[in-house]
């Protein structure tokens, strides 16, 4: 019965008329399900079959509006149907439904050619918003905790709800340009500022130079912020567990900036990141829930 309810729908959003073994679905289902006065057994199963797909597809559409705009209806829905058939929900919550979508696109880029690369960036960006919305947080790093520490050995961590992305497509501008309430988890996004409206709604997402985006939250509002390449390298090194001194060196490994300029930049980034609550004192050990 589970297989019958979750199998893909036939054209016209009907239950498939052919059973798994090639015989008639109507006959197979009739062995299990009673008819009613008005509905045959397969009609009754079809109600659940449709509800399953409508509910899950709607959930993906809400979580990935940018992807939907990029691909258009003709490619978005078949992609989602293929994804759900290959990766059925393994979580009690629909919140996790899209957690494997990026990997699925990476495995099967042909389904959405020529948009596969842009789609992957968009999916990562939109998934990062879900993580930022309700991911765990840890006590923020304070100046007092930093005082007197040795940068050579000091390890910092980054908030678990924060995602650092490197993209080749301006996904932040694209999503903001859509001006879709469902693109963000909060009703009024402070990230909708004076961003460029010229990107337009939907359509192609042009590849460009690498950009580094942090998706995070502050006071339970979602934000995203572009970082300079050096700042991104620093943040990534901290996230990956490198001591502070090593992380700073990695950030400017290929830089021609003078030491004083590097120090000034690091100070300004740290001031901002601590104000934003990005940094934690130690590597998080989350309570197993």
């Amino acid at each position: 019965m589970h297989a019958a309810i979750t199998r893909p729908l036939a054209p016209g959003d009907r239950a498939q008329r052919q059973w798994f073994d090639g015989t008639s679905s109507a006959r197979a289902v009739a062995k299990l399900v009673k008819p009613s006065r008005t509905l045959q057994p397969l009609d009754r199963v079809e109600i659940y079959n449709r509800m399953y797909w409508f509910r899950l597809l709607d959930s993906l559409a809400q979580d990935f509006p940018g992807l939907r705009a990029l691909l258009g209806e003709e490619k978005f829905w078949p992609l989602c149907e293929s994804y759900l058939a290959a990766c059925p929900s393994r979580s009690f919550t629909l919140r996790d439904l899209g957690s494997r979508l990026e990997r699925f696109i990476a495995r099967e880029p042909g389904r959405i050619a020529p948009h596969a690369a842009a789609a992957r960036d968009l999916v990562r960006f939109e998934w990062a918003q879900i993580v930022a919305f309700d991911g765990p947080s840890l006590p923020r790093l304070t100046k007092r905790q930093l005082a007197g520490t040795d940068p050579a050995t000091l390890r910092l961590a980054v908030q678990p709800y924060l995602t650092l992305l490197t993209c080749r497509h301006p996904v932040d501008e694209y999503v903001l340009a859509l001006k879709n309430d469902g693109a963000l988890r909060t009703g009024a996004s402070n990230a909708v500022t004076e961003r460029d409206e010229a990107v337009g709604t939907g359509g192609a997402l042009q590849r460009g130079p690498a950009l580094h985006l942090v998706v995070h939250r502050l006071d339970n509002q979602l934000y995203y912020k572009r970082l300079e390449p050096e700042a991104a390298r620093l943040l990534r090194a901290l996230r990956d567990g490198h001591p502070l001194a090593e992380a700073c060196a990695a950030a400017f490994a290929r830089s021609k900036l003078a030491a004083e300029q590097q120090a000034e930049l690091i100070r300004s980034w740290f001031t901002l990141w601590m104000r934003l609550g990005w940094l934690c004192r130690t590597k998080p050990t989350l309570e197993v829930k």
């Binding site: 019965m1 589970h2 309810i5 979750t6 062995k31 299990l32 399900v33 009673k34 009613s36 006065r37 008005t38 509905l39 057994p41 009609d43 009754r44 199963v45 109600i47 659940y48 509800m51 399953y52 509910r55 899950l56 059925p88 929900s89 393994r90 979580s91 009690f92 919550t93 629909l94 919140r95 930022a132 919305f133 309700d134 991911g135 765990p136 947080s137 678990p160 709800y161 988890r185 909060t186 009703g187 939250r217 339970n220 509002q221 989350l286 197993v288 829930k289």
Partner: protein
């Protein structure tokens, strides 16, 4: 009976489902509302806005948890990690009881995110009751099991749905969340008299009731929770209230959600039937 061990001996009155479109109004205006029912799964998260909202609501209102993923009727054993998350939430909300559905919906770790009807067999009743006991023992809070609306029945069933519900709740020694809209929807879809259902259940086990709207199609009725409560459901609610006593009542409105005031006013219509039930009870005594 109104306050009983299945609802933590509370008398909560008429409440509403807590829904996202109403958050701003509730937090800004703090309207009077006897209690809110939350969907547990929406708040079984690790941080962020959902818990911020929940904590703000808990400061002002009574909250009861209602779940959609315990799947008492599924063959899978209870997931202990899931139960631990749920118990954390129970401690946070101090819910006096917790409800979930008499249904299945997961197989081998995959989820349908639906509430699927079961074949009403003695074996299924025993297994379901055992699972309810396990969950209740872990969560340490009274459990009320809700009857679902359904669109199919199985040849394998050995009894009616209400006989099955009775078997389960007696064996589990748990409460009932009596959803009178679900009874009505199922009665139209399966051709039974909804009054038979309400008459047959153990009334002393009813800890809570649900009312809701539904949608009529040509050949079936769908439990859509996107309309006001229809007259036949009110009639059934009135009958159930007279039999069970005045019981915590919750209006479910989950789609095409109008303003808070409109939903609340719809819910408060239940008070007329509650008043009738009280009058009838007083007249008897």
């Amino acid at each position: 009976m109104p306050a009983n061990r299945h609802n933590g001996h509370t008398e909560y009155g008429v409440g509403l489902g807590l829904r996202v479109p109403h958050y701003r109004h509730i937090l800004a205006n703090k309207p009077t509302c006897a209690w809110f029912e939350i969907i547990s799964e929406n708040f079984m998260v690790d941080g962020g806005r959902p818990l911020e909202v929940l904590d703000a609501i808990l400061e002002q209102y009574q909250v009861v948890q209602h779940g959609v993923s315990l799947y008492f009727g599924s063959a899978d054993k209870p997931d202990r990690a899931h139960l631990r998350r749920l118990k954390n939430l129970v401690k946070r909300t101090k819910t006096p009881w917790l409800s979930d559905h008499l249904c299945w919906g997961s197989v081998d770790g995959t989820y349908t995110h639906d509430l699927l009807p079961m074949p009403y067999t003695m074996e299924a009743a025993k297994r379901t009751a055992a699972k309810i006991r396990q969950v209740r023992d872990f969560l340490e809070v009274p459990i009320c099991v809700e009857n679902v609306s359904s669109y199919m029945e199985f040849h394998a069933s050995e009894m009616t749905e209400w006989e099955f519900l009775n078997e389960v709740v007696e064996r589990a020694d748990c409460g009932i969340l009596l959803d009178v809209n679900n009874i009505y929807v199922s009665s139209r879809n399966h051709g039974f008299d909804p009054m038979d259902y309400v008459n047959a259940i153990p009334h002393h086990r009813v800890g809570q009731m649900h009312i809701a709207g539904h949608t009529k199609f040509d050949k079936y009725i769908l439990d859509t929770h996107d309309h006001p409560v229809l007259d036949p459901v009110w009639k059934l609610y009135a009958h159930a209230t007279r039999l069970c006593g005045v019981t915590a009542t919750l209006l479910e409105w989950d789609d095409k959600i109008p303003s808070f005031d409109e939903v609340h006013n719809e819910a408060l219509k239940a008070n007329a039937y509650i008043a009738d039930a009280r009058a009838a009870h007083n007249a008897q005594n």
